[in-house]
């Protein structure tokens, strides 16, 4: 009994002890759970905060991606525009401008379809200039629909601003209609406004509903349309200038043809004149020779002594016959040279010896008039390629003229100088000089300067034309510089022998 009581008491004690231990353990665990719950709550808060931060990151990232995409698109578009701009700015043919735009350009601008129309006022309709991405059937349908609504599309051009599927407009219905007409989900249309000629519009579009059109795209298409407008204007201006130039060229050609014709006529008349002069001179020479011959026989008094008045008259006939013969000979020479019947027998010659021969021939007259005469032919100017007899004739003519028009005690200088392929000869006198109005005519046939000397002295007016003809037959040039009262300088060039 006592044992049983002891056992019960022990069990009760143990139970109490166990209860106390369990209570302590429970308290401890409860505390731990509380701490854990607090940690979980903290963790949840952290996770929620992390998620909120994630949301912020995602939203910022979306904005950044959008901006980046926009930037990428713009850069690619600008590159495409720059490339296109370079090619269209150098194109001056209106037809070729639109051929420069290919699919790759439109694709780089972010579109798959593009078309361009210009309004032809004469036909009163829009004419298709560019088609990218549309089939033949599609574009024909578009052309029909544009033609059925011409006025609205003309208004679009008149508005002078870009319109698109995202831009604000007073006519949203038309905007929607445009999308349907051009079979695109989004589009941008910009007017082409060249100052010259017909205007139109350029449209780029995409069928993708995923591709979002932005203001940046509108700017790019506006730039492209402006460049196209500018290129059209340049091409049209160029065409206008080119046409004017062509007309001018045509006129010049016509005028040249007329002048050539006139020149041919002049040449023909001149040839006829030469032939006429030549035949007249020939016809004159025969009777003149007879007159001169008979006069000489009578003057020789072999047929009987002549009374002095008759002799005096006959001498006059003889002298005038000589002058007439000289005139006929000069005329014949000129006509021969002009007609090419006389060719210059050019050979290497010593110019100094030619000058000396001429001076020798004329020295008596020079002395008689007490003219100070000098000449110089330097070593390098001595060798010429000429017809000796003809050049001698030239020098005789020019020096004779100088003597004739230089008063006593005057001065005449003949100087020669050497150029690259020619020798220049100057015959300078201190004579009366030539009036300015006569300088251009002095080499014309039968022209005589109106001065007191010419009024007194006899001359044919054929000397200088003959000189000119001889020099030109040597492929040389002749000219004169003179001032009334200050003497004259006749210059001419002669060829040098070929080395």
């Amino acid at each position: 009994m006592a044992f049983t009581e002891f056992l019960i008491n022990t069990l009760v004690f143990c139970g109490i002890i166990l209860s106390i231990v369990l209570a302590i353990l429970l308290l401890y665990k409860t505390e731990k759970i509380k701490l854990l719950e607090q940690s979980i709550a903290k963790l949840k808060i952290s996770l929620n905060e992390m998620d909120e931060q994630a949301k912020l990151i995602v939203r910022t990232d979306m904005e950044l991606n959008k901006a980046q995409e926009e930037l990428d698109k713009k850069i690619v578009g600008l590159y495409a525009l720059q490339r296109l701009s370079r090619s269209i700015s150098t194109t001056l043919e209106e037809n070729l401008i639109f051929k420069m735009i290919d699919f790759s350009v439109i694709e780089e601008l972010g579109f798959e379809k593009a078309c361009c129309f210009l309004f032809d006022e004469g036909l009163n309709q829009f004419v298709l200039q560019l088609n990218i991405g549309y089939s033949r059937g599609e574009i024909e349908g578009i052309m029909k629909m544009v033609a059925s609504d011409i006025n609205r599309y003309l208004e679009l051009i008149k508005e002078e601003s870009t319109t698109s599927s995202i831009s604000l407009t007073t006519d949203p219905e038309f905007r929607e209609k445009m999308g349907k007409v051009f079979r695109v989900a989004s589009f941008i249309a910009s007017p082409l406004l060249p100052k010259e000629g017909s205007k139109g519009f350029f449209l780029a579009g995409t069928m993708s509903r995923e591709t979002l059109i932005s203001e940046g795209d509108e700017e790019l298409i506006t730039i492209l349309a402006n460049q196209l407008g500018q290129a059209l204007e340049n091409a049209r201006l160029f065409e206008k200038t080119w046409r004017a130039h062509q007309e001018l060229e045509k006129k010049v050609e016509e005028r040249t043809r007329e002048l050539s014709k006139a020149l041919e006529e002049v040449k023909m008349i001149s040839r006829r004149k030469t032939d006429f002069v030549s035949s007249v001179a020939h016809e004159l020479r025969t009777p003149l020779t007879s007159i001169k011959g008979y006069a000489a026989i009578v003057l020789s008094e072999k047929l009987g002594t002549l009374p002095p008045p008759l002799k005096e008259r006959l001498e006059k006939i003889n002298r005038h016959s000589d002058e007439l013969a000289q005139l006929v000979n000069d005329l014949l020479d000129i006509s021969r040279i002009e007609s090419g019947r006389v060719s210059m027998e050019q050979q290497p010659q010593d110019l100094k010896s030619i000058v000396e021969e001429v001076v020798d021939l004329l020295s008596i007259i020079i002395k008689e008039k007490q003219i100070e005469f000098s000449y110089s032919v330097p070593q390098e100017a001595q060798s010429v390629y000429v017809d000796r007899g003809q050049i001698k004739r030239v020098l005789i003519n020019l020096i004779n003229n100088a003597i004739k028009f230089t008063p006593s005690n005057g001065k005449i200088t003949v100087s020669c100088s050497s150029g690259d392929h020619e020798v220049r000869v100057d015959v300078q006198d201190s004579g009366y000089g030539i009036p300015e109005s006569s300088i251009d005519k002095i080499f014309e046939e039968f022209y005589r300067v109106d001065n007191p000397i010419n009024q007194e002295a006899k001359g044919t007016g054929l000397g200088l034309p003959l000189v000119k003809n001889i020099i030109e037959a040597h492929k040389g040039k002749i000219w004169v510089k003179s001032k009334l009262g200050n003497g004259s300088t006749f210059s001419f060039t002669l060829p040098k022998p070929i080395q």
């Binding site: 996770l47 992390m50 998620d51 939203r59 980046q68 995409e69 990428d72 993708s208 509903r209 995923e210």
Partner: protein
């Protein structure tokens, strides 16, 4: 013995001209004495027509053609948004291959279609050891994971399989796979190789986890109904601060930039899933399976992490090639990466060319999804359907 490879590229706007150019170039790179066994054809969507394929099949002399349409084609010469690339392959006697095709997937159930393709591919490989499979499927098949499941059922759960889902020009309207003279939607085609060949595959995405880890509390197949006991759509849209209408209109774009990362038991990497549509404005429909109970995170990618992942995938492919040279390389690159990288998209190609040598023929596509094994903790690798990855497959004889 090396595999003889001839590559051709056609970029002309006139499609027949582009096709002829590509065939001429490809044939010029393979000596006439070699028999061409297989042609891989990748093209942008404009080329995806029966006429083009018929012309190709005739020009190539009825060589087996396998390929897919894409947003862009990747080749040694660059990335092209318009074009067609052909790779002609002539194998030595000790390498075998089999090709096949399955159509009308949606009418059969994806798993059955996968099984059918697997069976057809194995048909001519009865007594030969198979080493590698390559599959291209329509990028808009609703249950790509189911299709892959069926294929794995027949080819084996650890059989190395790589591939890509065809894409279009980012319209998500219609994508095509090519098989001989057919260009078909709602279809898939594949190749399996066997014999003395080497290959190395590397796959990475580079997207990083963001926000708190969440759990899929209710899901069936591709559809997530609840996340942490809440309406899945409301959880997803909260991250963007969008209303349901804006979420719907920008969903495709958002889901490739911010996909859902799914943690899988036993795998080192998480799988990424694009959300392709919303069901009754409450559930998220993904492009691949998301098992109920799996942990998920919202993922975010940057250009830098994306390019770093390309380098890692390349290193992995080279490691798996065990120091041997690849005769040709396939690149299956997610269109999400193309979108994210923008003007820097070419840098991925630069990394690959630099790592493999500029003379190794490279051909690839931008895909709506990729198939490849993940590096598992306990075994060699189980094939999954992925989004946002780049997979680099080097093959050599």
């Amino acid at each position: 013995m090396a595999i003889i490879v001839g590559m051709g590229l056609g970029l002309d706007r006139d499609l027949p001209v582009a096709v002829q150019n590509a065939v001429r170039q490809a044939k010029a790179n393979v000596h006439q004495s070699y028999r061409i066994h297989l042609a891989i054809v990748f093209s942008t969507i404009e080329f995806a027509s029966p006429q083009v394929l018929k012309t190709l099949y005739a020009l190539l002399g009825q060589v087996h053609i396998v390929g897919a349409s894409s947003l862009g084609i990747i080749t040694n010469q660059g990335i092209f948004r318009h074009g067609l690339a052909i790779m002609l392959l002539s194998f030595p006697k000790n390498i075998f291959c089999s090709t096949s095709f399955v159509q009308k997937i949606s009418a059969k159930s994806s798993t059955n279609a996968g099984e059918e393709l697997g069976e057809k591919l194995l048909f001519s490989f009865k007594n030969t050891q198979r080493d590698l499979g390559l599959v291209f499927s329509d990028g808009l098949i609703r249950d790509t994971s189911g299709f892959l499941y069926g294929l794995k059922e027949r080819l084996g759960w650890s059989f190395p399989l790589a591939g890509a889902c065809a894409s279009d020009n980012y319209e998500f309207k219609k994508t095509f796979v090519y098989f001989n003279e057919q260009a078909s939607s709602d279809a898939a085609c594949g190749i399996i190789w066997g014999g003395k060949m080497n290959f190395g595959l590397g796959i990475k995405h580079g997207w990083k986890a963001l926000g708190q880890p969440r759990t899929v509390t209710k899901a069936t197949g591709n559809t997530i109904y609840e996340i942490d006991g809440q309406n899945a759509v409301s959880v997803y849209k909260d991250y963007f601060d969008f209303d349901i209408y804006r979420l719907k209109s920008e969903l495709k774009r958002l889901s490739i930039m911010y996909p859902i990362g799914v943690y899988l038991e036993g795998e080192e990497e998480c799988l990424l899933r694009n959300v392709v549509s919303l069901e009754n404005d409450k559930a998220l429909v993904c492009q691949g399976y998301v098992p109920e109970g799996s942990g998920i995170r919202l993922m975010i990618g940057t250009k830098e992490s994306c390019l770093a992942a390309t380098q890692e995938a390349l290193n992995e492919a080279k490691t798996n090639l065990l120091g041997r040279q690849a005769d040709f390389v396939f690149v299956f690159d997610s269109i999400a990466r193309y979108m994210l990288l923008g003007r820097q998209a070419g840098k991925e190609l630069d990394i690959i060319k630099q790592g493999l040598g500029k003379d190794v023929p490279i051909m690839g596509i931008y895909s709506f999804g990729e198939q490849a094994p993940l590096k598992a903790v306990n075994f060699q690798g189980k094939v999954y359907f992925h989004n946002q990855t780049i997979s680099i497959l080097g093959i050599g004889g």
